[in-house]
Subunit: 528 residues, 2 copies
C-alpha cells in the first residue's frame, strides 16, 4: 500500500474522479513533491456529506465508551504512521521534525483527552427536575435536559499546526467526541500530511467498526470549502486561519436559509502592557523574554505577541534597545509556505510605512521564504489614530507603542479589537494601582496573563482559546481544551418520558454514574 494516495475519502472509499491536480511543496527550497492530489469534484463533496448525514444517527447513538475507544484508536493509528509522518509534515511546512514530535504528542493527547471527557460526562450538562403531580395551580412535569450532537461538521485545518489543528486536530477530535460525523477539507499547504492522517483515522474507523461516513476528507480549494459550508446537511464549521478566510466562511454560513454556527479562530495581536514598576525592575530580561516569544516558530502562532505597549521612560528605551538587538540576532527561518512568507513581508511593509512608525532593524527580505524577525516603534497618539496598526501581522514582527502616560495606555486598551490573549507585565502594585486598565483589557481578551508571554497554549479544562471578535467568531467558545466539545452539541429536554425509554444519562438509576443537577442539587445519586 502506498503511504500517500492523493485521493479523497468518501467515508472509507478512496475516490479520485476529478481532473484538477494539486501538488505539495517544500517551502525550504520550493521543490515539488512527486504525488498528485486530486481535487474533489462537487459530486464527491456531495457524497461525502450524504455519507456523513447517513452515518449520523448510528454514530450518535453509540455508547460514549465506544466513541472514546474510537478516539484512542485514532491516536494509536497516528503513532503507527511513525517517523514518516514527522518527516512529511516537516517537509511540507519548513518546521523542524522535533517540533512535530511535540505536535504529534499534543494531537494524540487531545484525542485521548476527549476520550476522557466522554467517560467523565460533565459535558452532558445534565439537569433533571422531577415531576410534582400535585403542585398547585398546575402539576409540574418531569423534565430532563442533556447535550446531544448536532450533525455533520465541516473542519478546515490550519497551516501552522498541520497535526494539532488540522485533519485529526482539536476541531475534529471535539466534533467526533460530541457524536458528529466530520468532513475535513484537506489543507492545501500540507496535502501529504493530511493524506497520511486521513488514512490513520480511517483505519481507526475500520478497527472500531464505526459507521461508514463518520469521517471523510476532500481535497480542493476555496470552492470545495464553500460547497461544504453551504451544504444543507452540514450543521457546523470549525476553522483556524486568517481573518479574511474565517470571516468569509462566517458570512456564507449566516446567509444560508438555515444558518449554522462557525467556530473560526482567527488570531490576534496579543497586546502586552508593560506596567511601569515591573518594566523598571528588569527591562533587559523582559525584552529578551519577549524577543524569544516573538521569534518562536518564526512568529507563526496565533498567540505571538505583536504589540508591546509601554510608557515612555529610560526603562522603555532600554527594553526597546534590547528587544531590537535580540531580534536582529535571530536567524531568518523558513516560513510555512511561500504565501505566508509573502504576506508577512507585505503586511509588515505596510505597517512600517505608516506615519510615525520607526523601524528598529534590517527590513530586507532574505528571500527563500525565510522570515526575518523585526521590531518597530510608534508613539501612542499615531497608533490610536491609525487602526491599520491594530491589525495582526502573521510572522516574527512586533510593534512597541510608547505612551505618554497611563491614560494613553488605557485609551489603547479600550481602542483595541478583541484578542485571544492580553498580558499585563506588572507587579502586584502595578495591578492594584490600575484597576481600569485591568478591566479594559479583560473586556477584550479570552485569556488574561499576569506576566509571562502569550505563546504556549496549555491543553486543559481551564484553557480559553478564543476571544471577542476578530480573535474568533464566537467568543463564548474555545478551540483548545476540553470545553471545545461544547461547540458541537446542543441541549434537548425530555418531557414526561418513562424511565425505561430515556437515554441512559437521564435514567433514575444513573447507570453511567454521572454528576447531574437533580432538582437544583449537584449529585451522583440515583433518583428514588
Amino acid at each position: 500500500m502506498k503511504m500517500i494516495t492523493g485521493k479523497n475519502y468518501i467515508g472509507k472509499d478512496a475516490s479520485a474522479r476529478g481532473s484538477k491536480i494539486l501538488k505539495a511543496y517544500n517551502p525550504a527550497d520550493n521543490s515539488v513533491f512527486p504525488e498528485e492530489f486530486v481535487a474533489a469534484t462537487s459530486e464527491e463533496v456531495d457524497q461525502a456529506v450524504a455519507k456523513a448525514h447517513g452515518a449520523f444517527n448510528a454514530y450518535k447513538t453509540l455508547s460514549y465508551e465506544k466513541r472514546a475507544q474510537f478516539l484512542e484508536a485514532i491516536a494509536d493509528e497516528i503513532m503507527n504512521l511513525g517517523d514518516a509522518l514527522l518527516e512529511r509534515a516537516s517537509g511540507e511546512s519548513g518546521l523542524p521534525t522535533g517540533r512535530f514530535q511535540g505536535e504529534r504528542g499534543r494531537t494524540c493527547n487531545q484525542l485521548k483527552m476527549f476520550a476522557g471527557v466522554l467517560r467523565d460526562g460533565s459535558w452532558l450538562d445534565i439537569n433533571i427536575d422531577t415531576a410534582i403531580p400535585d403542585r398547585q395551580p398546575i402539576p409540574k412535569v418531569d423534565l430532563r435536559k442533556m447535550q446531544i450532537p448536532i450533525g455533520p461538521v465541516a473542519v478546515f485545518g490550519a497551516s501552522n499546526f498541520p497535526l494539532a489543528f488540522s485533519t485529526a486536530g482539536g476541531d475534529t477530535a471535539s466534533a467526533l467526541a460530541a457524536g458528529n460525523p466530520v468532513i475535513v477539507k484537506g489543507h492545501e499547504a500540507h496535502l501529504g500530511t493530511n493524506d497520511m492522517v486521513t488514512q490513520a483515522v480511517l483505519r481507526a474507523v475500520e478497527k472500531c467498526g464505526m459507521p461508514d461516513g463518520v469521517f471523510s476528507m476532500v481535497n480542493g480549494g476555496i470552492e470545495t470549502g464553500q460547497q461544504l459550508v453551504i451544504h444543507p446537511k452540514v450543521k457546523a464549521v470549525g476553522f483556524t486561519g486568517s481573518l479574511r478566510g474565517g470571516r468569509a466562511i462566517f458570512d456564507l454560513a449566516n446567509q444560508r436559509p438555515e444558518p449554522i454556527p462557525v467556530y473560526a479562530e482567527m488570531g490576534s495581536t496579543n497586546p502586552s502592557f508593560l506596567l511601569p514598576e515591573k518594566l523598571e525592575s528588569d527591562p533587559e530580561g523582559l525584552a529578551t523574554t519577549f524577543a524569544n516569544s516573538v521569534a518562536l516558530g518564526v512568529g507563526q502562532f496565533c498567540t505571538s505577541p505583536g504589540l508591546l505597549i509601554g510608557i515612555k521612560s529610560s526603562a522603555l528605551d532600554q527594553f526597546i534597545e534590547t528587544l531590537s538587538s535580540a531580534l536582529a540576532e535571530k536567524d531568518s527561518v523558513t516560513m510555512l509556505n511561500s504565501k505566508i512568507a509573502k504576506s508577512y513581508y507585505e503586511h509588515r511593509g505596510i505597517a512600517i510605512e505608516q506615519t510615525g512608525v520607526q523601524v528598529l532593524g534590517d527590513v530586507n527580505n532574505p528571500g527563500e521564504n525565510k522570515g526575518k524577525p523585526l521590531t518597530a516603534k510608534v508613539d501612542g497618539q499615531p497608533f490610536l489614530k491609525n487602526t491599520q496598526l491594530h491589525e495582526e501581522i502573521f510572522g516574527p514582527f512586533t510593534m512597541v507603542v510608547a505612551c505618554e502616560n497611563m491614560s494613553e495606555m488605557l485609551a489603547i486598551a479600550n481602542a483595541l479589537h478583541g484578542q485571544l490573549t492580553g498580558t499585563l507585565v506588572a507587579t502586584a502594585s502595578d495591578i492594584e494601582s490600575n484597576p481600569e486598565l485591568v478591566n479594559a483589557l479583560g473586556n477584550k481578551v479570552g485569556r488574561l496573563l499576569f506576566n509571562g508571554v502569550p505563546t504556549g497554549v496549555e491543553v486543559c479544562h481551564s484553557m480559553q482559546h478564543g476571544g471577542p471578535y476578530p480573535a474568533s467568531t464566537d467568543q463564548r467558545t474555545t478551540s483548545v481544551g476540553t470545553a471545545a466539545i461544547s461547540r458541537f452539541v446542543r441541549p434537548i429536554s425530555y418531557q414526561s418520558w418513562p424511565d425505561a425509554l430515556l437515554p441512559d444519562a437521564l435514567k433514575n438509576s444513573n447507570p453511567l454514574g454521572l454528576w447531574r443537577v437533580v432538582n437544583g442539587e449537584l449529585t451522583k445519586s440515583k433518583i428514588e
Copy 2:
C-alpha cells in the same frame, strides 16, 4: 406622579425630545388610549447605549449578591404597581387580567430565580488547573477560567407575553443577572405596560444604588431597533417574535464589522406525532386535549400545536371529527392586536387554499380582531411536496396530516424545519417499535415530549426553550429557565495570577463556597 409618562428613559433620565408620537390601542374595540408615547430620536438611542457602556464596568464588578438583590427589588417594584399593571396589560393585549396575574407571578419568579442563580454560582462554570512548575518538558502554568459578562444587551420584547417576555422578562432578567446593562426597545403593542414596568425597574435601580445606565428603555419602530442592533457598543440581542423580525435582526447583527450574537426565539409548528397504538386507545380524549391546547390563549403561544401527524385509520378519523367539532365549539376571542389578527387570517387563508387541504369548519372571520379556532386536514404526500404547509401560522389553527403509513410519517419528521418542541403521542411499545421516528424528531427539536401537549413551558433548570433554526437563531441556548443566563456571558482564563488579585470566584480559599472543577475534580474545597 403620573403612572404612565410616555417618555423614553436614558438610564434614570426621562427624555422625550422627539416629535414622532406612538399611541396604544385596545384590540377588543380598537379604541385608543389617551397617552402620547414619544419615539426616541437617534441621539436618544445613542445616549442610552453610551450610558449602558459607561455603566458596564461598575455594574459587572458588583458582587453577585448585590446583583441578586437588584433583581429581587425589580420583582418587588413590579408587584408594587398593583392591579393597575394587570389592567393595563389586559387592555393593551386583549388577554384577561387573570392571565396577567399568572404572568406577573412568572415574571417575578424569573427575576427571583436568577437571583438564586447568582447566589448558587454554577453558571460561572469555574475550571481551575493549578501550576506544575517542575513538569517536563515545560512547566504547567496556573490557569483559572470563569464566565464574565459581555457588555450592553439590547432586548426586544414579545407581544404575546407583555410581562414575562418583555421589558423585565426573561431576556432582561438573564442579561442583568449575567452582569450586563440592558437597553429595552419598548414593544409597540403594549406601550403603557412597558412604560409602567420600565419605571418599576428604575425604582429598583435607585433603591439598590445601581450605576445609572444599567437599564434604559427607548420607544420607537423598526429603525429604533435597527439602530440598537448595529450600535458598536451593543454586544448581544435578545428577541422573541416572528421569524421575519428575528431573521432581519440576525442578518443585521451578522453584517456588523464586529458581529454579535442574536438570541431570537421565533416559534414553530410544534409537530405532534400520533402513534397508532396510543391513538387507537383514546382518539376522542386525545382530540379534546389537543383542541384545548390549540385554542389556549387564542393559539398565541410559540408552543401552540400547529401540526398533528397521524396514520390513516378509523381512529384518526374519529380524532379528526372530535377535534374539529371541539374547535368549532370554542369561542372567538380577541387576539393581541389587529396586526396579529389580520396575519392569522391571511396565513391561515393561504394554507387552506393549498392543493389537497380540506377545511373542517367555518372559515369566516368574525371581525373585531377575534381569532376563531379552526382545523384542516391534508394527506402526507401533498404535505411533503408543499413546504408552504410547513410554516407556522400564529393563532388557533392546527393542521392534521394523514399519512399512508409509518414510513411516510418518518419522511415528514425528516422534512420538517427545526422546532421548539416535538411530541410523540405514544405508548411505550409505539416508541420501542419506532426508534427511527424518535431519532428523527429528536434531531429537529429542543424539547421532546412523551404525550401531553407542548403548550405550558415550565421555568426551571431543565427547560430547553429554543431549538434548531428557525425555532431559534441559536439552538445551543434557551430563552426560558436558569440556563438562559449563559447567552450573555463568555469565558475568560486568568493565567498565572497571584491569588490576592484574582476575582473571588477563583481564589484558592473559595470564599464564595462555589462548586468548581479543580484539576479535573468537581469540588467545593479550598485549594491548599
